[in-house]
């Protein structure tokens, strides 16, 4: 049994929250650069140039790429041979409090959804834990902005809707979102499982590098096809028209019930942020 102090988790969450908000992952930068090189529409090129300039400034000055520094999603894969000393929930929230406070990040969380008073420190985190083999903890911090979160959708399709129904729902979601989620977007998709599992997979799909395709060839081909179809919609960067509407479609899937075909689409903006550390 390996001991990990809860304070170690607090420090890691705080550091990752600031890092993730100020430095765009290399894979996202790479895809934006490729998109810029392949973009034929002049207005769209101008926007992509500004987006590239923006993350450059954020890198150089270590300031947030976007003012919406998000709700702080925290994913923990905890090895079953790890013992955490202290209160894990409190440790994670303390990390958010520290990171968002000391890192000059925006506090964007309200205490309850109807009475809407800001918590003032961006807590609580959206915390997900999973028990896995081993004696390590994999910690991912993913600040999630709500311009794109608000454009996300879930459908409980019928098995008879099949793959065509899934494609149509994903395309409809992206088309209806239009300029609102700050395209170019990353499209996270969860297919199968249950209502909640599909939504969780769609969120997790956004953590996969945008340069990496699904390990299953069938789903990898579906990702490519959907990306091509989305980029044929013509929405373009910021919705002003152009080829680059999405940077990637990342699909996760899971077994499901004989009666169901859940599909969740979690949209992320071009500032697709996440950072992982192994403790």
């Amino acid at each position: 049994m390996r001991e990990i102090n809860a304070e170690t988790i607090t420090e890691a969450v705080a550091e990752l929250a600031v890092e993730a908000n100020c430095r765009l992952p290399g894979d996202v930068k790479e895809r934006i650069g490729q998109a810029r090189a392949n973009e034929p529409w002049p207005t769209a090129c101008g926007i992509l140039d500004k987006i590239i300039e923006n993350y450059g400034i954020a890198d150089e000055n270590f300031v947030p790429i976007c003012q919406d520094t998000g709700v702080c999603c925290v994913f923990l894969k905890i090895g079953q041979d790890v013992h955490i000393t202290g209160d894990l929930r409190k440790a994670v929230d303390e990390g958010v409090r520290k990171g968002y406070g000391e890192g000059y990040l925006r506090k964007s969380v309200v205490r309850d959804p109807l009475r809407r008073v800001n918590t003032g420190d961006n807590t609580p985190a959206m915390l997900y834990t999973e028990i896995v083999p081993g004696d390590k903890i994999e910690l991912t911090v993913a600040p999630k902005g709500f311009g794109s979160e608000n454009m996300s959708r879930l459908a409980m399709l019928k098995p008879s809707d099949g793959i065509e129904g899934v494609k149509a729902f994903i395309l409809k979601t992206v088309e209806e979102a239009g300029p609102n989620p700050c395209p170019p977007i990353v499209v996270g998709v969860g297919i199968g499982g249950t209502f909640d599992k599909a939504a969780y997979m769609a969120k997790r799909a956004l953590m996969r590098p945008v340069t990496e395709r699904n390990a299953d060839e069938f789903y990898a081909a579906l990702e490519d096809e959907l990306l091509e179809k989305i980029n044929a919609l013509g929405i373009g960067p910021q919705g002003f028209g152009g080829k680059t509407t999405a940077l990637a479609v990342n699909i996760e899937w899971y077994p499901t019930h004989i009666a169901g075909l859940p599909v969740a689409v979690n949209i992320n903006c071009h500032v697709t942020r996440h950072k992982t550390v192994v403790l």
Partner: protein
């Protein structure tokens, strides 16, 4: 080539700005998001004065990150505008001539823009670090309890925006997409 616009924007000037025009804004603008808009409209409904002069005012839908030491303001890009749709027609009627945000607007907002003379600009969403450098001065006007959502008076210099919807109701989101798709067909 961008068009330089000095704020405030009068009703007359607002009517000369065309959808698709890239503009650089300089002068004073005010910030407000959902919660502040709600309060402003409640004041109007009660017949009480607003905390800043709404006549010819431009409102930027932004909730900046806190300023680091030595910074005027933190990252400050636009938030999605449709959440302000319920409130904007009232503020336009009261004198607002410019709105800066990103994303679609409702038919009611567009109608008010046409009726009174107002323009809707978009700034680049997700480019908060870049846009921040155009803000030369920032001070809180009211609603400090709202934190990032407080109303701020900003002095901006050459803030890059694009006129998306003009006072005739022309819409760049529709036109830009159509023109791009036409160009693809031609090829």
């Amino acid at each position: 080539m961008e068009r330089h616009i000095t704020l405030p924007i009068t009703r007359e000037t607002a009517r000369t700005i065309r959808s698709g025009e890239a503009c650089l804004l300089s002068g004073v603008i005010y910030t407000a998001r959902d919660a502040a808009h709600k309060r402003l409209v409640e004041l109007v409904e009660k017949g009480e004065p607003l905390p800043f002069d709404i006549k010819d005012a431009t409102i930027y839908y932004v909730g900046p990150t806190p300023a680091k030491p030595g910074q005027v303001i933190g990252s400050a890009g636009p938030t999605t505008s449709y959440r302000m749709d319920a409130y904007s027609p009232t503020l336009i009627r009261e004198g607002e001539t410019g709105m800066i945000g990103k994303g679609k607007r409702s038919p009611e907002v567009v109608e008010a823009m046409k009726k009174y003379g107002a323009v809707y600009f978009a700034a680049i969403g997700g480019a908060g670090a870049l846009l921040s450098s155009c803000i030369k001065k920032a001070e809180i006007v009211c609603y400090e309890d709202l934190g990032a959502e407080a109303v701020r008076r900003l002095e901006v210099e050459n803030l890059p925006v694009v006129a998306v919807i003009d006072s005739e109701g022309n819409n760049l989101y529709e036109k830009g997409r159509r023109e791009y798709l036409d160009s693809v067909e031609e090829r």
